[in-house]
Amino acid sequence: MSEETTPPNRVRPDGGAEQRDINDVVEEEWVEDTTPFERVYGIIRRTYDPTSAAQIADRARVSPTTARKHLRTLMDSGEVTTAQDGQTTLYRRSETGIVTEHAQSLLAERTPEEIASGIAELKAQIQDWRTEYDVDSPEELARELDIEDTDSDQGALLREWQTTRRNLALAQATLAIAEATRTGHLTGTNTDDDGNSDSSIVV
């Protein structure tokens, strides 16, 4: 995604002239630096619970009509999925969108081989936690420990375990995409490879 097109480090001509609430200032900057579509896309990319177009519009600082228009576009491209709540359509980031975004970033930084060995490490880490705390999941751990403060060591462990579990799922999906890309079977660009060659990545 090209979010780096805004000119870096602009000095605001009116900077420091008057006392203004920073929350208002950063909101104005954001609206100036981005298009309505970029803001709607930015918000929905981080929206994992079904949310109305009116709420998305409010958060993206656009009109509900504009939000609906861009959300429909993003739905057509698979970035967004919907659910019905009576008369109201609720929108959220689609699993396809989540996996695609993650795979793109990860494959830019790591080779499929590195991802494969990383997956083994994440699995081992999760198994270590299961053994050490004698529970199957971070949720079971949370119930047993009755974690009150997310700032605590126990809160940090819970967060780390839940994060590792999610990143494991994302890494596995990324590896599957990398493998499908390598064989070329999805696009028909490499029909020689039957997927059983020695260079295949062991998942």
């Binding site: 870096p8 420091g16 950063v26 970033s105 997310t150 967060r159 994060t163």
Partner: protein, 162 residues
């Protein structure tokens, strides 16, 4: 929903049964924040995820610190539920944190003041915006305030001139 106002937990974006936890880290949000920070703050020397495959924290290294500090670092966590923890530390051993997550008997958005950012007591945070790009800009704006003025005084005051 009223956008940036403080709302009841039931109206928050996170499901009720998840309300008391920070929740899993959002790798995509960390990358988005990384790119914005690099773009916005000239003193950023490096901004990187601790582990690309299993990121838990974005660390932003700054080539200068507040007042006598020669360098500083800002560590950022951001969860799927929109919870965050932002921790400044410098070579003079000064720390402060701008956080947003459930904390018993404390506001969800809270500030752990310098010089040592204790777990308690905390103050209500001056940062009331919610979206990642807005919170990131607000954090950078508060860091710039402290850096430019050479003081932590008034750091958690939203109405200091930018």
């Amino acid at each position: 929903m009223t956008g940036d106002e403080d709302v009841e937990p039931s109206q928050d974006s996170q499901p009720a049964e998840q309300a008391e936890v920070f929740g899993p880290i959002d790798a995509g949000a960390l990358r988005e924040i990384r790119d914005l920070v690099i773009n916005q703050e000239p003193l950023v020397e490096e901004a990187s995820l601790d582990d690309p495959l299993n990121p838990q924290t974005l660390s932003v290294d700054l080539s200068d610190g507040v007042e006598a500090a020669s360098t500083a670092r800002i560590d950022i966590r951001w969860s799927l539920a929109g919870n965050y923890a932002v921790h400044y530390t410098d070579t003079q051993g000064r720390d402060f944190r701008f956080d947003c997550h459930p904390k018993p008997d404390a506001p969800t958005r809270h500030f752990h003041p310098p010089p040592d950012a204790p777990s308690r007591p905390v103050e209500p945070s001056c940062i009331t915006v919610r979206e990642a790009p807005l919170v990131t800009r607000a954090i950078l704006q508060r860091w710039r305030y402290a850096y430019t003025n050479g003081t932590f005084e008034g750091l958690n005051d939203a109405e200091n001139p930018p």
